[in-house]
């Protein structure tokens, strides 16, 4: 049962292989051309406000052993995807990695390799990996807040869930597919979305009843947010017009979490316009917060410092705000966790810190 879209996908996949085949037939060393996937090759799409890959290309040629291996793996992966589409099957990225065990010398050595190649194929075909019947096993985010969605459940029936009243303490778990065919937003009564990095802080806000007190939709990111989480944040922002605020630890890695939500991740810059929420704002913890709120800190380690310097070179962070904050963090040589706010008591974050920061932003 091939839908029209599946047929189009198959066609795109075939085109990649045909190119390689033709090169060899002509006696040329086979190669593939791809955008360079690094921070030096992402450009701001001014009309959409997101960062996408620029014009720098890399040539993956069979002249070198690594290139040859990747081309071979690409052939195997495309063949496997073709089979899944034809047989109407799907697999997780993890399963794909294990499937490659039977590919002989073409097998992957880490799941990173297979994940990255799946992304390469997205870039080459301009389709999403879901179209290739590949899905992440990653744990999506959880949500608590007064928002009602309708999810098509396992039995194919729509099921309404209010993310405040119909869920337990851990909230509504975001599935990996959050497209309209799976999830529809029915109703909401909130003023903004607050995306939170750590479970500890999420639980604190829930316990303090912050979602009701501040009319907020709380989203637990679970670290670096999965694609579906970022996609859903974007839908809340675009479809409901809710501002998205990001609340993380105060360290270079958390800055990157914000960047991936607001500007798009370097790894997935080919689908930035689909995932990124350009108007998302960073609440904290900032380097200035560390000083202003006199927070307990840890010393920056060598990796932290390297990451901060890398961010100074990252085009996504080239704004006066980020330049100041990154340089300040390097200057004080300190980082802080969001839970460091507990220094002033358990209610401090909800009674003082968040209201202050939010009014500073002119939101309330």
């Amino acid at each position: 049962m091939e839908t029209k879209r599946s047929e189009e996908v198959l066609n795109e996949l075939k085109k990649i292989v045909e190119k390689i085949y033709d090169q060899m037939k002509k006696g040329e060393i086979p190669y593939m051309e791809l955008p360079a996937r690094n921070k030096y090759n992402i450009k701001l799409d001014v009309t959409k406000g997101v960062w996408k890959y620029g014009d720098d290309k890399i040539y993956r040629s069979a002249k070198k052993i690594e290139g040859a291996y990747t081309l071979l793996r690409t052939m195997f992966m495309l063949d496997f995807i073709k089979e899944m589409i034809e047989q109407n099957k799907s697999s997780t990225l993890r399963e794909l990695y294990y499937i490659s065990e039977s590919w002989g010398i073409a097998k992957f050595h880490t799941q990173d390799e297979s994940d990255k190649l799946a992304e390469d194929i997205e870039i080459l075909t301009k389709y999403l990996r879901e179209d290739f019947k590949l899905r992440p096993e990653e744990n999506g985010a959880t949500i608590i807040g007064n928002i009602t969605i309708e999810e098509i459940n396992r039995k194919g029936k729509p099921q309404r869930i209010n993310c405040r009243d119909d869920v337990g303490d851990s909230g509504y778990p975001v599935p990996y597919n959050v497209e309209k065919e799976k999830i529809n937003i029915i109703d909401y009564d909130a003023d903004f979305v607050l995306a939170i990095e750590t479970g500890g802080m999420f639980d604190r806000l829930v316990e303090n009843g912050y979602d009701e007190k501040a009319r907020a939709v709380l989203v637990h990111l679970k670290g670096q947010p999965a694609r579906s989480t970022r996609r859903l944040l974007k839908r809340f922002n675009e479809e409901l017009g809710l501002p998205v605020l990001v609340f993380t630890d105060g360290d270079p890695w958390s800055f990157r979490i914000y960047a991936s939500i607001a500007y798009g991740a370097i790894k997935t810059a080919h689908i930035s316009e689909y995932l990124a929420t350009p108007t998302a704002e960073f609440i904290g913890v900032t380097a200035s917060d560390i000083l202003n709120y006199d927070l307990p800190t840890d010393k920056l380690n060598d990796k932290d410092i390297k990451a901060l310097y890398a961010e100074l070179n990252d085009p996504r962070f080239k704004t006066p705000f980020w330049k100041n904050e990154i340089e300040l963090m390097l200057k004080i040589g300190k980082k802080a966790e969001q839970q460091a706010l507990a220094k002033y008591g358990l209610n401090y974050v909800t009674d003082v810190y968040l209201p202050e920061k939010i009014s500073e932003m002119g939101l309330k």
């Binding site: 390689i20 006696g27 040539y59």
Partner: protein, 647 residues
Amino acid sequence: MDSDISEELAKRQKEISIAEFFEKNKQILGFDSLQKSLVMAVKEAVDNSLDACEEAKILPEINIYLERIDRDEYRLMVEDNGPGIVRREVPKVFGQFLYGSRFHAVRQSRGQQGIGISAVVLYGQITTGKPAHIESKIISEDIGYMFDLYIDTAKNKPVILKEEPFLTDKKSGVKITVNLKGKYTKGKQSIMDYLQNTAIVNPHATITFQDSDGFKIKYERVWNDPISPPKETKPHPYGVEIGEIMKIAQKTSYKKISTFLTGEFSRISSQMANEILKISGIDPEREPSKLTLEEVKKLKEAFLKVKLLPPSYESLSPIGETLIKKGLKNVLGDLKPSFYSIPVTRKPSVYSGNPFTVEVGLVYGGNIPSDEPVKILRFANRVPLLYQAGSCALTKAVENIDWRKYGLEQKGGSGIPTGPMIVMIHLASTKVPYTSEAKEAIAEIPEIMQEVDLALKESARQIRTYLIKKEVKNKLSEKFFLVQKILPLIAEKSAKITNNPVPDISPVITKIMNILWIDERVEVTENRAKINVSVINYTSDKKSFKLYADYTDGAVLPESIKPFGEYDQKNDYIVWVIENLDPLKRLDLYFELEKIKSDYSETTYYIEGIDPVHVVGAEPLPGDWNIESLKSIIEEVEGDEDGNEEE
């Protein structure tokens, strides 16, 4: 200061004999811990035995036994097949400090000050209260003599407790047995460590050791000619010290200072002697034994003002290329190193009038740990140096080199590099400049540092060439895998997905490889070598060229050259003229060598009439095969850098 008191002090000082001094200051001579004392005792005895054998041109056979008597008391026995010591000399050699036959002779020897073995006797005596037992047999007498003796430390004289003749089958030799306190260990800085290193630089010696746990080890000799001792020469005026001049002047038989100068020192002609005496203002007729300290000082100053020939190098005996290689192979062979450098023996050089030479051998790879600091084996006059590595000039010379240039890992380009390598450094000199009396580390003399540096770099360049060649080989085997396994699979898969016939990838293969590949396979049976040279054209064009086989060993059997090719008798090589070898075509050439020695050394192949950049396995004629051309091959093999090719 009160003159009476200072006189008294001076008198008392004289009464403290060297033996007494040692008793109070054991550490100065290296007996500073129980562990080290055992090693030192073995070392002094073995050094003596090796020196004695050398002098008598005997192939040394040394047996060492260590037995545990009590908690920390051991009995050490060292037995050699040297010339033995005549009866009347035995007590002095073992029971008197600074007794040595060659105290003023200048030449390279292991024990340089004649203090060693009596120190062992004394150490044993003061730690256990037991005398030393010595047996000696010389070849010209039918019986040997055995002694029990100890040292009267106040008088620095031997005290003989027992002296008896004994019967023995041995032609000659000395056996010393001492009881001493110690602690027996294995591993670094142990007796085993010392003996292993000794065996490396003395491949002409057979050494056995049985330790107190009953463990036995034997280093069999791999060289059957005795080492001849270096010649003795007179001291060179530049290197001689004031005290030495005084001593020589006391003992000399020359009656006049002018003849004393020409007769007792090297490189002084009578004309030169006159000039020296003129500068120092000493009457040429003066009697040498009557020289005052003041005059000797002036003499020494005058020595440095005249131009003399450098000292003679005859007094040096470097180990030499062959023996270093044999020694390293014999002892380190278990580690199966993949590369032995051709040992470097530098031309002799001079520091302050003392001749010296530096030798370096390197082994690399195999089972030598690759994640540990490089091991440095230090030797001075064929004696291993086990202690104070950090403050030794030989270690520092290694640390001063940027080994990253030669393909090893090294933090910041200085310090001890990391990698699967063992470095052997030997300093041979008539006077090794130790940093202390314990003779454990060599002082940083600029002339020596420079020679060690040059010798190390010469050896390091060999390592680099070896590593580059290895890299070429690795890259090539990678390429072969690429074109033979990966590429056909890509072709097959892409054909399957697109529903097409599998394409012919030969043109792609030649484009990727782009080399002419020459590979030698050898089959050695007894003293014959069957050689198969395969030539494969991995380029996209037909190739015509001449290939030469220049063998270094044995003689070619002209009728064995197949299927074509010619033996050039005049130049003693084989030449094949190959015309229009098609892309991906393989050509097998054969020939046989007879009368080859035990290990076949690779034949060198030269090629003519083709761009050598595209050739692997043969050198461009006329043998100008250097690192640069190897490097260009690596670049070729790695592919053209597009600048944005994915890493």
